[in-house]
């Protein structure tokens, strides 16, 4: 596939993934507290977000990886330092998305409300990661 077409699909899927993660962050922060291994009462809004996450956000993340790896291979970017920093951030962002998805599937909120519970900061972390990744990919400072 043409490099610019790949780039267009990569940017689109990445934007859909990030948008979905922000919705997910809000949904997880609104979940009720966990009580043992019992599931919380069903909520139509949480169910809708869960379906969106399953059928839109998660596939968008997978497509962003695949298009991104194809772009790096086609553009011969694997020797560039900015790409490796971007890959580390993307891996952490993927793990954050996985953690948010797992928590939403459990249908219970953040167990540990102490400042150590990193899921409380999922929204700001997602935006900061998006900014850094965009700077790395567009400006290529290193």
């Amino acid at each position: 596939m043409d490099y610019l077409w790949l780039k267009a699909f990569h940017v689109t899927s990445f934007a859909v993934w990030i948008g979905g993660m922000l919705i997910l962050s809000l949904a997880v922060s609104s979940l009720p507290a966990a009580t043992g291994s019992d599931a919380a009462a069903p909520s139509p809004m949480i169910d809708a977000i869960s379906r969106w996450n399953r059928w839109v956000t998660s596939p968008a993340m997978l497509l962003a990886w695949v298009f991104g790896i194809a772009l790096a291979a086609q553009g011969d970017w694997f020797s560039a330092p900015w790409l490796w920093i971007k890959l580390v951030i993307i891996t952490l962002l993927s793990a954050l998305h996985g953690a948010l998805s797992g928590r939403l599937r459990r249908r219970t909120g953040i167990l540990d409300a102490s400042p150590r519970s990193f899921l409380r900061f999922a929204g700001p972390v997602t935006i900061a990661s998006f900014l850094i990744v965009t700077i790395l990919a567009v400006a290529k400072p290193i």
Binding site: A34, G36, S37, D38, A39, A40, A41, P42, M61, L62, W65, V66, I69, A70, A73, I90, T91, S94, A95, L96, H97, G98, A99, L100, S101, G102, R103, R105, R106, R107, L111, L119
Partner: protein, 114 residues
């Protein structure tokens, strides 16, 4: 009502443990092929295409594993030490076998930490 929800949760738990075992195996197989087949083919036979093909395939499998590990750990409320163990063994060739055994044990003894 809550009984149904609990039953659904237990069914989702079994499904999630099966899923992470399958993904762990996939990641392990691609790592073994990369390290023991593609890398020797590149350095001993000069076939660069072997690592150029297997590298991205393993990279994608590794990302899928990291995502599934985070999802599963968050779902069950696993401790940081348990997550680190599953991450560390995935980075070692054939470590997926040890992870599969650990996950099987976890399934038998109860995967929920809270």
């Amino acid at each position: 009502m809550m009984g149904d929800a609990t039953e659904d949760l237990q069914s989702a738990a079994r499904q999630q443990l099966r899923r992470i075992r399958a993904v762990s195996l996939l990641e392990g197989v691609t790592l073994v092929i990369l390290v023991f087949v593609a890398v020797p083919l590149k350095h001993l036979a000069g076939i660069d295409a072997a690592t150029a093909t297997m590298g991205p395939i393993h990279g994608t499998a590794f990302l899928i594993y990291i995502w599934t590990l985070a999802h599963t750990a968050s779902f069950f409320g696993w401790r940081k030490g348990e997550i680190f163990r599953l991450f560390l063994f995935a980075a070692v060739p054939l470590g997926a076998v040890a992870n599969a055994r650990w996950l099987k044990h976890k399934e038998a003894t109860g995967a929920f930490s809270n």
